[in-house]
Structures are given as structure tokens and as C-alpha cells.
């Protein structure tokens, strides 16, 4: 490497060269860092954010709307809603609360499944284990239990408000029917879960409950016209529910599968239909302008 001279004729060596370069490099890093720290104040403008949310975040109505429409979870909502429909006073928020409780139940339920075996030997012990040894296990179980009760309460009150606001009327008749089925599914979910701790409470509740199935007309061995159709305790509808003639290991397994897999799946499908129909029926029914008797077609 030949010696170089600077403008003043001084010799510059490798060391000076390096110094100069690193100073320049330092400048660049500094300005870039400053720039990028500045950008962090607007996370919505980062490539990462845009890759996830797919929208520019400009403060204009179009982007506001897109923030709802372009999001898988939010797009069950319309971009805009009737100004008064957002009031708690009209819907009481109860449909949404029911749905939220369902999500809470799925979440806590899956966590409980990590600790639970649906067998006569282990089920009850697993609950004891959850209550006494699993970190936050008792809280988990309590939350699942009380959220289930809350969901039953919320679903009844939701039905009450839908009725009282006349929201089942045309064009929402079908969605009301979907709702009724959802209520039945909610009750069945709660009831099938009742047996799972395999304690006296669940055992006798399910015994009382399924004993009624004996008396099903045609399909139960004690029901009207059941025996005439060849129903016995070993082939009637109660046997099908319990997987046996008494509440035992098979009943526990059946309750478990209904509770953790089948009914949640069915209910999710119906909820999908329910929400979709709310949108297709023109959004929330009101608060609509009041009509007068004189304005109805007699």
C-alpha cells in the first residue's frame, strides 16, 4: 500500500483512514437510529404492522372503515353502525356478552382438558389435583364453572331483550329460531359438564335427568308405547345417552365427548350462522323509529 498525502501534504496512514471511516460510520448510525426511533413513535407505519393489518393508518374515514372490514375478527361488524344502536340501552350488550363468555369457556375449558382424564379411576382425582396442586388450578376451575352459569343467565336475558324489543319480527324470524337452538345447546353444554367431576352432585343430577329419558314416548322403555315397540332398559334412548343402563364409565366418556367436542362444535356453527344472519337481516333491529297504528296496513 503506497503512502498517500492529504491536501496539506501530510502523510496519512491506515490508522487515520480508519478513524475517518469510523467517524463517518458513526454519523450514519446515529442519524439512522434517530430516524428509526422517530418512526417507532408511529408503529402503524412500519412494514411489520402493515404486513399484519394490511392497511395504511391515515386518519380518514376510508381507513377507519377498512380497519374493521380488513380484519378477520372485526369484519363480522359492518364498517358503520346506526348511531343509537351502539347504546347499551338498546341491546344491553347481552348477545356480545354471551359470546364473550363462550370464548372464556373455550379458553379455560381447553386448559382444564390438559389435566383431566375422562375415566372413573382418574376423573375425580384430577379435580382434586387441580384444586390443590396445579398452579392456579382452583381459579381455573372456578372461572370455568362460574362463566358457565353466567352464560346461561346471559342467554336468557338476551332472549328477554330480543323479545321485548320485538327484534324477532320480520325479517329476523329465522335468527330467533337459531337463537332458540343456541339456548338449548348452551343448556346442554352446561349439563354435560356437570357430570365430569364425577362427584355425587353431578352423578345424581345426571341420574335424575336421564331417568326422564326412560319415559320418552315410543323411544323409552317406560314411555307410552315404548314397551310395545320393544324398548327395554338395554336398548332405549336412555341407554344411547349413557352408553349403558346406569351412569357409569361409558356415560362419563360420552358426557366428555359431547361436552368438549361435539356440542361446542355444533354451537360454534350455529353462532356463525347467528352472527351472519344479524348482518344479512340488516344489522341490529333498532332502535328503529316508532310506528303508529294508523300507519299499518290493515
Amino acid at each position: 500500500m503506497a503512502d498517500q498525502k492529504d491536501a496539506n501534504g501530510r502523510k496519512t496512514g491506515v490508522l487515520e483512514d480508519l478513524k475517518e471511516k469510523s467517524r463517518e460510520f458513526g454519523e450514519i448510525v446515529k442519524t439512522k437510529t434517530q430516524e428509526q426511533l422517530e418512526e417507532l413513535k408511529k408503529p402503524q407505519e412500519t412494514q411489520l404492522y402493515r404486513s399484519i393489518f394490511r392497511i395504511k393508518h391515515d386518519e380518514d374515514p376510508r381507513n377507519r372503515a377498512l380497519s374493521t372490514l380488513n380484519n378477520l375478527f372485526f369484519h363480522i361488524h359492518p364498517a358503520k353502525v346506526n348511531r343509537d344502536a351502539t347504546r347499551y340501552g338498546y341491546t344491553w350488550g347481552l348477545g356480545g356478552i354471551t359470546f364473550y363468555l363462550f370464548i372464556v369457556l373455550v379458553f379455560t375449558g381447553v386448559m382444564l382438558m390438559f389435566y383431566y382424564h375422562p375415566t372413573k379411576v382418574q376423573a375425580f382425582r384430577d379435580i382434586l389435583y387441580l384444586e390443590n396442586d396445579v398452579p392456579f388450578g382452583r381459579l381455573l376451575r372456578n372461572m370455568h364453572r362460574w362463566a358457565a352459569h353466567l352464560m346461561v343467565m346471559a342467554v336468557w336475558l338476551h332472549m328477554f331483550r330480543v323479545f321485548m324489543s320485538g327484534s324477532y319480527k320480520r325479517p329476523r324470524e329465522f335468527n330467533w329460531c337459531v337463537g332458540v337452538l343456541l339456548m338449548v345447546l348452551t343448556l346442554l353444554l352446561s349439563f354435560t359438564g356437570y357430570l365430569l367431576p364425577d362427584d355425587q352432585l353431578g352423578f345424581w343430577a345426571v341420574t335424575v335427568g336421564t331417568n326422564m329419558a326412560r319415559a320418552t314416548p315410543l323411544l323409552g322403555h317406560q314411555g307410552p308405547f315404548g314397551p310395545q315397540l320393544g324398548m327395554t332398559p338395554y336398548n332405549d334412548v336412555r341407554f344411547a345417552l349413557l352408553g349403558g343402563s346406569i351412569v357409569d364409565a361409558n356415560a362419563l366418556l360420552r358426557a366428555y365427548i359431547w361436552h368438549c367436542i361435539a356440542i361446542p362444535l355444533i354451537a360454534s356453527v350455529f353462532m356463525g350462522v347467528h352472527f351472519w344472519r344479524v348482518r344479512k337481516d340488516g344489522g341490529i333491529s333498532g332502535p328503529s323509529p316508532v310506528m303508529l297504528e294508523a300507519e299499518t296496513k290493515a
Binding site: V81, N82, L139, H149, V180, D199, F203, T216
Partner: protein, 329 residues
């Protein structure tokens, strides 16, 4: 043994009974709130009906209104923040509840040790209470089916076009009362009886009466035909010889048809009377198709049958109104 407040407290504070205790407050609150909204709208309706000029220009809700305001709001944030707030409040309630009260766990399941009382979860106690008044195939199968089908039939029976999407009492009095009677007067009241009144042996205990697992109740219930002394004596003379040994049973089965028909006609007349009471309800009633009318009558007559039966049982100790070899009601 009345005045046992501890007993009452034990029932109320049972963890699995908390929901129905909470409903005792929530349902009256929401009923009041619904009526609060209804009456506000009804006042507006009355005002608009009295003043057609105003009716033409009014925005027709009871909420604040300004013609310059946008009719619609952006979902984000105006709706979403409310949903978020609701979720947070529910989470807090749930957390507090889960931290303060433990989910119940009894002894391990044991088929040889009967729980006394053996009760269904609170939301099914209405059905279990029905078991006291009806045979299991009615209480456990027919009634739930009718409730589900009946609920689903509501939108198709209700021919009243008013009150669609706003709270109103005066424009849909019959619908409101039907639902209040069905949901609160029957379903929730039966749940409450099952929860608070029924004790060991599913027997009737007044609030603050001590539960006694050894209590025995002598069953003094009688069938309606026994009260009327139906014994088939005169039937023996008309029946063919082969059926004569069955005379009592046949006489009872035939007799039972009478009160059922009488009840059916009385209930139908009552419903008809209600439907014809105001000019507007007459208009709606006339608009209904035959299928709608028949369905409505069947469901209302059946629904009203429940309180009638409960009344006959609790007050007159009547077991069956109509007893036949195949089914009894």
C-alpha cells in the same frame, strides 16, 4: 320449625345457587328497564298520534337527535370500545366471583349413597319441578319439546307488525304479557320453587322451615274421578261382557275427557276474549291465517294448563285429571 334463618342462608349461599339468587335481582331489574324504555316510547307514540303534523317531521326515537349529526358512526372505535368495556367488566365480575367462591365438589360419585335432595342444576329445576305435577314423559319430554317449538313458533304466530325493533308496551300488550307469564311467571318461578322450596325428598319446605331428611309425607292426592266417585257401576250395564271387568278403568278414562274438554273450551274462550278486546288487536287477530290461529291456540291453551294443574295439585291435592291405562294427565 319455622324461623330457621340458618336453613335459608344455607340454601341461598350454596355456590351453585348463586346464579338464581343473582337472577332474583337481575330479572326484576331488566324487566323494569324494559318497561322504562317501553313507556318512554309509548309516551312519544301518544304524542305523535295526537299531533299528525309532528308525526311527519319527528325523528321518532326518544334519543337525542340533531339533523346535522351523521346517522351512522364508525364501528371502530364507537362500537368496539363499548364491546371492549363490556368484556372488561364481565372479566372483572368473573374474576372476583372465581376468587371468592369455590366451585362445589362433593364426595366421589357413589350409586349406593343417594343424595337427598337429588337436584338437577338450577337451570333445569323448572323441569324437575314439573315432575311433581306430571308424569315423566310429559315433564321430561313433552314439556321441553313444546317449550322449544313454542319459542320458535313465536315469530310466525305474532302477526302484529308494530313494535319491530323498538320497545313498546301499548302496541304489543298481549305479546309482552304472554312472554312475561311464560318466562317469569312460569319458568323462573318454577326454578325458584325447585331451588328455594324443595328440600329432602323433593318435599315442600317454606322458606326458613328446617329441612328434615326423615320427614314422611302421606300421599293424600286423589284423582279428579275419585272426587266425583266414578266407579263404572252404570257402565257395567252397557258394556259387552268381555269388557265388563274393565268397567272402572274405562269409566275413568271416559270421564277424564270431560274436564279436559271443558278446560280447553274455557281457555279458548278466554284467549278469544282477550284477542277481541281492543280495536287494534281485533285487526291483528283477523289478519292471522287459520294455521297461525290454530297454532297460537294450541300453545296458549297448553301453556295455561301448567298453572291450572299446579293450582289443582297444590290447593286441591288432585293427582290426575284424566287417567287412562296408557297415559295420565
Amino acid at each position: 320449625m319455622f324461623g330457621d334463618w340458618h336453613q335459608l342462608w344455607v340454601i341461598i349461599s350454596t355456590p351453585d345457587n348463586i346464579p338464581i339468587v343473582a337472577m332474583l335481582g337481575l330479572v326484576p331489574f331488566f324487566t323494569w328497564y324494559a318497561f322504562h324504555n317501553m313507556l318512554a316510547n309509548d309516551r312519544l307514540i301518544a304524542q305523535l298520534e295526537a299531533d299528525p303534523q309532528l308525526a311527519r317531521t319527528h325523528h321518532r326515537t326518544t334519543y337525542p337527535y340533531n339533523s346535522r349529526w351523521e346517522r351512522e358512526l364508525h364501528t371502530n372505535p364507537f362500537l368496539m370500545r363499548k364491546e371492549l368495556l363490556a368484556a372488561i367488566i364481565i372479566t372483572i365480575i368473573l374474576m372476583v366471583w372465581a376468587l371468592t367462591l369455590n366451585a362445589p365438589l362433593e364426595e366421589p360419585a357413589n350409586a349406593s349413597v343417594t343424595m337427598n335432595p337429588a337436584k338437577a342444576p338450577w337451570y333445569f329445576l323448572g323441569l324437575q319441578e314439573m315432575l311433581e305435577y306430571f308424569d315423566p314423559w310429559i315433564a321430561g319430554v313433552i314439556v321441553p319439546t313444546l317449550i322449544i317449538v313454542g319459542l320458535m313458533a313465536i315469530p310466525f304466530i305474532d302477526a302484529n307488525p308494530l313494535g319491530n325493533g323498538y320497545y313498546t308496551y301499548h302496541q304489543r300488550r298481549h305479546a309482552v304479557w304472554t312472554f312475561l307469564i311464560g318466562f317469569e311467571g312460569l319458568w323462573l318461578v318454577l326454578v325458584c320453587i325447585g331451588t328455594f322450596i324443595r328440600g329432602p325428598g323433593f318435599m315442600w319446605y317454606w322458606p326458613t322451615q328446617t329441612w328434615d331428611p326423615d320427614r314422611v309425607e302421606f300421599n293424600v292426592n286423589r284423582n279428579l274421578d275419585q272426587i266425583f266417585g266414578i266407579n263404572g257401576n252404570w257402565l257395567v250395564h252397557i258394556l259387552p261382557a268381555s269388557l265388563r271387568p274393565e268397567a272402572v278403568i274405562i269409566a275413568r278414562a271416559l270421564f277424564g275427557i270431560i274436564p279436559m274438554v271443558v278446560y280447553g273450551i274455557a281457555a279458548a274462550l278466554f284467549i278469544h276474549w282477550i284477542c277481541m278486546r281492543t280495536e287494534y288487536s281485533r285487526t291483528v287477530y283477523r289478519k292471522m291465517s287459520i294455521l297461525q290461529t290454530v297454532t297460537m291456540y294450541i300453545f296458549l291453551i297448553t301453556m295455561l294448563f301448567v298453572p291450572v294443574t299446579i293450582f289443582l295439585r297444590l290447593v286441591f291435592r288432585i293427582k290426575y285429571i284424566w287417567e287412562t291405562p296408557w297415559f295420565s294427565i
